[in-house]
Symmetry: C2
DNA sequence: TTGCATCCGGTACCTGGGTACAGGCTTACC
DNA sequence: GGTAAGCCTGTACCCAGGTACCGGATGCAA
């Protein structure tokens, strides 16, 4: 390994994350428990910076921390692989998920545009106006999309 | 008003929400405190079903419960209106928000597609392969979009 | 009047991704 | 060896939008 190692504050700075986040990731199984100094302080190998960058990248692609942990695990013992465990397969699933969200958000966008150009200015009056474009009648009922 | 009124279970069924949710909305200021029976049971006017439908519709359009509460309030005392308080203005802001999310998700989608067609199958090996399309180098750092 | 369904308030818990704080130890530098 | 910066553990809290459980009180029909 490269020279000595990083202390938690140094690693946090280098990777641009909070120091508490490091311990949080350790609890969540994303980071292995690092070596300790005689007094109990964590000493991380330098590659951990890369690992954190990997984690952040996967997060940005829409994977949850659990999924990232799985993905890292799957990469670690890639002998005797089940065919569903690689990044390829997971990326395909995630892509489908993202595409679904895009579809949902597009419907929402179009509805908002319709409401704007119809001049809607009050929800309650809209609700009993028959010409309002807002979908008060139930709609597909999948929520997961919009409200962040 | 139409006849007698609804009890909380009836309203919940009629509107397709959980009974606890009604009390939750009452605490959050989305539903006014209804009349009570002599024994303290809530009695809702029949229009509350419509109101709940309105709330759900606004939620589906991406408004948070706080925003929905504001929107309903703004509609209620629409005398002496500030010009930013109508549905029009809020819908325009929300539309911009949704469009930003669409843009972000589109970037994510394209990145996933690139990773899939480049055949990436392991994050850790990708991270030090120079030809991997995954953006390990920092990227725009706005997260709010993907992770649901 | 009895019995059961329903409702009450209060509080705790859930997901997901962290962040903050308190009180005490370790490390580094002079 | 003193002092300050940094680190330790444990616990609690934050956002949003609910959901679940509890013991006790009510409502309604037979």
């Amino acid at each position: 390994m490269t020279s000595s190692g990083l202390r938690s504050g140094e690693l946090a700075d280098a990777a641009g994350v909070n120091q508490q986040t490091l311990r949080y990731y350790e609890r969540r199984g994303l980071l292995a428990s690092p070596q300790r100094s005689p007094g109990g302080h964590r000493i991380y190998p330098a590659e951990t910076v890369t690992l954190l960058r990997i984690i952040k990248t996967a997060q940005r692609l829409g994977f949850t921390l659990n999924e990232v942990a799985d993905l890292l695990d799957a990469g670690r013992h890639r002998h005797g692989r089940r065919p569903d465990s690689g990044l390829q397969a997971r990326a395909r699933d995630k892509l489908a998920e993202i595409e679904q969200k895009l579809t949902d958000l597009t419907v929402i966008r179009d509805t908002l545009r319709a409401a704007i150009s119809a001049g809607c200015d009050d929800l309650v009056s809209c609700a009993d106006s028959p010409c309002c474009p807002l979908p008060f009648a139930e709609l597909a009922q999948r929520n997961d999309n919009a409200g962040h």
